[in-house]
């Protein structure tokens, strides 16, 4: 089915498609979380109008946008089951907290939309919606940052004899042995389950993700707003957010230099890294210029490009590893038959999904003009 061009084969293609799903989640679901941030920060004389605009903009689409995350997760556990297991063990705490954020955000949003109309109930659910919109992007970024930093290698060390990519995975078969290191007191809980993610570099990436999502949301909301003053509100917010993103990105690079030298080295040494950085900078500057000149369509395009480039920059930093430095994409992949069937299912599914999504967005984008 596949012709191999250099190191690119079935596993790499599936990994790339998984990144596309994650990219879609970041651009769509991410912006919905960003909307929650602006709900929290709503201020000024048009505070309620801002919140209504956010609720109307994400109402019809957030569930569909959310499914991109499920697609990415399902692809991960189908195509790279050992990686999914490893992340489930070592990142149990941040992933569980992220899930709490996801559940509370979604539930609070519908409870506010459909529940009691009294001011108190509306405010209460609004607050839960907004705060949980902060938690999820932060933890998503922390998870990505932890993987990229290579810190999971320290955690895996406690599983005696466990190795990724052997087909059996870190736990399959006779897995009771995996409990032994803890039973024997061979490793302490914090150094395995907390330290790898609760450290400067992952947190810097978490903050970066949060600011990127808020930036995206502000840019999108300039297009969703019908009212010119409301549009100006979000134009100003988008411009401020762009500066905050710049600061967060700079911060992340500095933190990487001191705390994640592996990441820093790739950023400095990889021949494609300068190109990525240049394109990201161009996209960021274009977004700012377009916002300044009130070319909102262009601003949206540039902002989406900027965020996507940051995400693919992460992929670049770790390629060919899926969990650096433990396992490459190729080593962790499921048998070819699974990958082939998965790609077939994805292709077929895309034929139904993409037109459906376009229909959904077109249906609800019309609110600006009617």
């Amino acid at each position: 089915m596949m012709t191999f061009i250099g190191p690119i084969g079935l596993p790499e293609i599936v990994a790339a498609v998984m990144m596309v799903a994650l990219n879609a989640y970041v651009l769509m679901g991410g912006a919905d979380f960003g909307g929650g941030v602006w709900d929290l920060l709503a201020s000024g004389p048009r505070r309620d109008a801002q919140r209504t605009l956010i609720a109307n903009a994400i109402g019809p689409i957030w569930e569909a946008n959310h499914v991109w995350l499920i697609i990415a997760v399902v692809m991960l556990f189908t195509a790279f089951p050992d990686v999914f297991s490893l992340l489930g063990i070592l990142l149990h705490i941040p992933l569980s907290l992220m899930l709490l954020g996801i559940v509370l955000r979604g539930s609070a949003f519908v409870f506010r939309s459909y529940g009691s109309r009294t001011g108190a109930a509306q405010r209460r659910w609004g607050r839960v919606f907004a705060v949980s919109s902060l938690i999820t992007p932060l933890l998503l970024g922390i998870v990505v940052g932890t993987i990229a930093s290579g810190a999971l290698a320290r955690g895996l060390g406690v599983f005696a004899g466990a190795a990724l990519g052997t087909g059996g995975g870190p736990l399959a078969g006779g897995t009771s042995d995996a409990h032994a290191p803890f039973a024997a007191g061979g490793a302490d809980f914090a150094s395995v389950f907390i330290a790898p993610w609760l450290s400067p570099f992952p947190i810097a990436i978490g903050v970066l993700a949060l600011t990127l999502f808020a930036f995206l949301a502000a840019v999108y909301l300039t297009l969703a707003a019908r009212d010119a003053t409301l549009r100006e509100d979000f134009r100003r917010r988008a411009l401020v957010a762009a500066l905050v993103v710049f600061a967060a990105a700079l911060g992340a690079i500095l933190v990487a230099h001191f705390f994640a030298p592996g990441v820093s080295r790739v950023l400095l040494e990889s021949p494609v890294a300068p190109w990525f950085q240049a394109f990201t900078a161009i996209a960021a500057l274009t977004a700012i210029a377009a916002l300044w000149a009130r070319h909102y369509q262009l601003a949206r395009l540039a902002a989406a490009a900027q965020v996507s480039l940051v995400l693919w920059g992460w992929a670049l930093v770790q390629y060919p590893f899926i969990v650096p430095p433990l396992s490459t994409i190729r080593d962790a992949a499921a048998p070819p038959i699974t990958l082939e069937l998965l790609l077939t299912a994805l292709t077929t599914g895309a034929l139904i999904l993409i037109p459906s999504l376009l229909y959904l967005f077109r249906t609800f984008a019309r609110s600006r003009t009617t």
Partner: protein
């Protein structure tokens, strides 16, 4: 509490919570579409009102189902990494297909819920049909995964006991796939249909609008009653499949300790694991052999045919099975009663006893679902994949699982209470319909 028990409890709570919303997500769209279709045909605005009220409830319940389903997809790795490493490449395919079906459902539910004034009449009804079909499809795909855990196939084992030479397409058509998918779909329609019918029956008994609630009852029963009436037949298909493929599970759900020909059917009773016998049960001679193999002299394997360490907790499984059968039978009988009343063209509003029965039976479908899920999951223990992987070998080595278990349990208890309060307030609004 051991780590294993904490993990099992968290998974059980998550599934028990999600399955209710998943069932509603499968069946509620069918009812909305039927009500809207009646409106489009008749132009009677009260049908539209009904469709919109149901849609409002569906919006809340679907969202909670979507987020609790997301939790489950992560919990597979957070709690059962050994299972995912072992079986991910083979069960991943139906999960992926389920993902796509769910995606389609979410997209068109967005169009349906928010698109009343934005898309044409046909497009709106069409969106509802897509939601109903993709909801059913996603249930079928996800049940295929569970079916594979019960009757795994499409693989070979290597010397280390790992799966090799897998064929995910064969895995999707395991022996349990069709019986389980059928049973689950019928359960979704019966449980949701009767829950909705029960609410409207209650409102009617309390003097709500006769026309409005009679229409709502009509559609809810149209979806729920036929499903409840044929469910025992689907149960028979499932039971015979279990007898053939998982004899220990069958023995547990029937409280059958000895291997014997002409085994009796036990109604009620308490399986005593220490004494290895089931006490105080009403026994019908030969009936279990008859039901399980359609032959009163057939041999039924007993629990004692395997080591005690390979048996599930018999009492839980046996009691859950009895609860499921009793609830399901009650719904089937009420379904027949309603069908008879409809056939005689009786006015539902004057059938007070039938309305009372429907109102009381409102939660029974969900009770039966939870009990049935307990039967299939606890009945498979100590295995997570029947005969291949023990649950104890699949659990995460992360210590302290009691903490997330308590956290997620509190979350779900809280969410459950809020959802009930919200649906109750939606129902109260329905009261004084003109």
């Amino acid at each position: 509490m051991t780590n294993l028990l904490a993990a099992r409890t968290q998974m059980a709570v998550s599934l028990a919570f999600h399955i209710i919303f998943a069932e509603i997500g499968v069946a509620m769209p069918v009812m909305m579409v039927l009500a809207e279709w009646r409106y489009r045909r008749t132009g009677d605005a009260e049908w539209l009102d009904l469709a919109k009220r149901w849609a409002k409830g569906t919006a809340i319940l679907f969202a909670v189902g979507a987020v609790s389903g997301t939790v489950l997809s992560f919990e597979l790795g957070l709690l059962w990494p050994g299972f995912m490493s072992f079986a991910g490449p083979i069960v991943g395919l139906p999960f992926s297909l389920e993902g796509f079906a769910f995606f389609t459902e979410a997209i068109f539910l967005g169009v349906y819920l928010y698109g009343w004034d934005r898309v044409g009449a046909r497009a709106h009804l069409g969106a509802g049909v897509v939601v109903a079909v993709s909801g059913a499809a996603s249930a079928v795909f996800v049940v295929m995964v569970n079916a594979w855990m019960n009757t795994p196939n499409g693989y070979q084992l290597d010397d280390a006991g790992r799966l090799v030479g897998i064929d995910p397409l064969v895995g999707m058509r395991s022996a349990a796939a069709f019986p389980e998918a059928l049973h689950m779909l019928l359960a979704a329609y019966a449980a949701t249909g009767f829950a909705v019918a029960g609410i409207h029956a209650l409102l009617m008994l309390r003097g709500g609008s006769r026309v409005f609630h009679a229409r709502a009852l009509g559609i809810a029963l149209l979806v729920g009653a036929p499903a409840a009436v044929v469910q025992p037949l689907s149960g028979d298909i499932s039971a015979r499949m279990v007898a053939r493929t998982q004899p220990v599970k069958l023995a547990a759900l029937e409280g059958q300790w000895e291997t014997e020909r002409g085994a009796p059917l036990r109604i009620g009773g308490w399986p005593d694991a220490a004494r290895e016998e089931t006490r105080w049960a009403l026994q019908i001679p030969g009936a279990l052999s008859l039901l399980a193999f359609h032959d009163p002299r057939a041999e039924v394997k007993g629990l004692k045919s395997v080591a005690a360490s390979d048996r599930p907790p018999v009492a839980v499984v046996h009691v859950a099975f009895q609860v499921m059968v009793a609830s399901g039978t009650a719904l089937a009988l009420i379904g027949l009663w309603a069908g008879w009343a409809a056939w005689r063209r009786r006015d539902l509003a004057s059938e007070r006893w039938l309305l009372r029965a429907i109102a009381i039976a409102a939660p029974l479908g969900f009770v039966a679902t939870e009990a049935g899920w307990t039967v299939t999951e606890v009945g498979r223990q100590p295995w997570v994949v029947q005969g291949l992987l023990r649950t104890a070998d699949a659990v995460t080595p992360m210590p302290g699982l009691v903490v997330p278990m308590i956290l997620f349990t509190l979350l779900y208890v809280g969410l459950g209470a809020i959802v009930i309060a919200l649906v109750a307030s939606l129902v109260r609004e329905t009261g004084p319909v003109a």
